[in-house]
Amino acid sequence: MMFPACRYVCKAHRCIRALTTLRTDSAAPQLYTSIHRRTCSSVSTPRITTHHTIHPRDNDPRWEGIEMERFADEADVVIVGGGPAGLSAAIRLKQLANEQEKELRVCLVEKAPQIGAHTLSGACLEPSTLIELFPDWKERGAPLNTPVTEDVFSIFTEKHRIPVPILPGLPMQNHGNYIVRLGNLVRWLGEQAEELGVEIYPGYAAAEVLFHEDGSVKGIATNDVGIAKDGSPKDVFERGMELHAKVTLFGEGCHGHLAKQLYKQFNLRENCEPQTYAIGLKELWMIDEKKWRPGRTEHSVGWPLDRHTYGGSFLYHLNEGEPLVALGFVVGLDYSNPYLSPFREFQRWKHHPFVASTLEGGQRIAYGARALNEGGFQCIPKLTFPGGLLIGCSPGFMNVPKIKGTHTAMKSGMLAAEAIFPKVTAENLDSETAGIHVPEYSESLKNSSVWKELHAVRNIRPSFHNYFGLYGGMVYTGIFYWMLRGKEPWTLKHRGMDANQLKPAKDCKPIEYPKPDGKISFDLLSSVALSGTNHEGDQPPHLTLKDDSIPVARNLAIYDGPEQRFCPAGVYEYVPVETGDGMRLQINAQNCVHCKTCDIKDPSQNINWVVPEGGGGPAYNGM
């Protein structure tokens, strides 16, 4: 099984052979000799991964005699993830419980230190679902303050723009929608949920799925705390806690790490296509008042991306009493050039005359990034399994051409609540498994507006995979969606996993990105600082590698280390080894903004993102 880039493989081997004993640093005192799958010599790769999911603690002498029993508690329903889907489900459950005067214990765990701190989205919200959940949302003070007043769509060239009319009926038409700061809406949903009696625990990450003996889901366990960077227990080590439930809802957002396990465990993806994704980077800017047009939404496609790289931008003028704009850039993760850096595309896009004119004289006040789903209808997995179900962007209900997923995520949460409520409050439920199976949720979703919506737009994203790329896709959308509303009898396929789309570096041209000017465009590290991200330094890196030697041997050798370019937080760096030649991968886990792009795009699928100690990660405020 030879790699196509034999030349690069040999180069890597020469580097690796030249590696002499590495000077150990205090953080990673153990050297590891990893066994190469291919040929060659014994190689000393410095140990990078120390997490117990890769190196189990059962036979680790440092863990002998440590108390590993966990405190356990019972709830009726446990929800993983305090985003729009999880909170809507929690709220709906409690609304039903209060209506029918039934007792129901609903516990929600969220890895962010406060609800909303890990939420990032454009966002242009379709209020339909919120109105269903809270018909009196206005009186309750939901932060929907900016109705959309203008909708502008452009195709950018390097210096100019071609305006595209947004005819009514096209998916990107925003009449009736609101520009929101989703983090603030999520925080508000959290407050409503607490008032209704939901137990919300921010700062506690669900790290493990628990199973009954019959294989059904029993609940989750939160992360252990107090493990040192080298994987050994510290004095303050404490086990996580187990939360058992009749049904567990998994609403981890795009590419959840527990969902990844559940797909394998219950074979949930056997009848759907692999999910495809994009990365979205976003900034908040305080601009010059004279340039502020509250309610205006701007979208663009084209420059700086070529017609074969899916992506585009958004710029929304908020109306919350100050001249604030939310802007960002989305790049499909099925791009093929390993030299592409989504972050640097975003930074250089801002220099387009149409955008720079808005930002000149302004000040950037926030930055963040998150992966989002692009697969749509073709990629929806089986949603239910004994003891649990998947809601929100985790299975993925985003309407890609509309670039809206919040309303469908909330709807899926509500439908989940309505489906499980009768079962968890039933006096004598006859269940085959200890964890209750609720296939009614899938059924009600299939009969809902969410399904119709996603079905209608299912062919738009895959239609970009043609010779004309972006323009072919737009023509397809114009004909089949605008005129026929997605009623064409065929369903186009996506190209397969995003991780498999990269071409070897030798077949691609490096991209010359301009240097950031410090006024409109910025460097990566100052951007990461603005996200407020931080983690306890002395813990095992949560970006775990199944095989520590693969980054240098494969990712660097064949693809020139694409992770150093696609990570929006500078977590991955290839640095020269301290003694001898060659490079090693350095993982700056503290910078991570929990976007999940690395887990998605790693061409070797060697990176497994697991949850760090709860409370760590970005500190977004109204993103």
């Binding site: 230190p113 406060q114 701190a117 404490e238």
Partner: protein
């Protein structure tokens, strides 16, 4: 001796968050920003809980002065092992101008009311870096103080405190009741784990108003202006020493 310890905990903007000054330069933006317990207060709570675990004190009471959200900070202290909490309600303009003088008056009043044996505070808060509350509280109560403590041990009715000072370490022995302020190396705070957070919901937090304690909140300080530090100017590389001297002369530094 009552064996009761009062621990002050302050809710501050999390240390990793990038601070932003309000456009009117009146204050720092706090709305929706991530807050957490002042790191030195965490150390103070840990020390108090350790004393209780060694059975040297009987009860740990966590106190915080601030708006509604300060209750979350008290809950964290309760989850770390404090027995009960006291939330001194201060909000709005009073909270914006709340400083060490008022807080120490509140702590002194509470210490008398609760018949406390010790007051343990963090040495300073990371938002204002005042390093004054502990010292002022001791003065108001006329109690001895062991500040910048990196080691505390009880010896009968006296306390031995190892203090971190500029020149090294100073060891003092003081009488009780006393005020102690925690420095970085005093201990490593334990995590507030989820089972403890759940248990903490059952512990009591009493609500008190400063007026009930007879404390006047008027500030003697008026904040005129808050500004960001000046932007770092780019440095310049020079080739020779002569160049360097010439540039320093030009800039008027030599």
């Amino acid at each position: 001796m009552s064996g009761r310890v009062l621990v002050g905990v302050k809710r501050v903007i999390d240390y990793a968050v990038k601070i932003r000054v309000k456009p009117d330069n009146s204050a720092v933006v706090t709305d929706g920003v991530k807050h957490s317990m002042n790191p030195f207060c965490e150390i103070a709570v840990e020390e108090a809980v350790k004393l209780k675990e060694k059975k040297l004190v009987k009860e740990v009471v966590a106190v915080s002065c601030g708006p509604q959200q300060s209750q979350e900070t008290i809950r964290t202290a309760l989850a770390m092992g404090a027995d009960r909490g006291i939330h001194v309600e201060v909000s709005g303009k009073d909270y914006e101008s709340l400083g060490p003088l008022q807080v120490s008056k509140i702590m002194a009043a509470l210490a008398k009311k609760e018949e406390a044996q010790f007051i343990i505070l963090g040495k300073q808060a990371i938002d204002d870096d005042c390093n004054q509350t502990g010292q002022m509280t001791a003065a108001l109560l006329d109690w001895p103080q062991g500040t910048f403590a990196s080691e505390v041990s009880l010896e009968g009715d006296k306390v031995m405190v190892v203090r971190e000072i500029d020149g090294g370490l100073e060891t003092i022995r003081i009488n009780t009741p006393a005020v102690l302020t925690a420095d970085l190396r005093l201990n490593t705070p334990r995590y507030a784990t989820l089972p403890n957070i759940m248990k903490a919901k059952k512990k009591k937090i009493a609500n008190v108003k400063p007026a009930d304690l007879g404390v006047d909140l008027t500030s003697r300080l008026e904040v005129l202006r808050v500004e960001e530090p000046p932007q770092r100017q780019a440095g310049m590389k020079v080739e020779t020493v002569e160049d360097l001297v010439a540039k320093l002369r030009d800039a008027g530094k030599v």
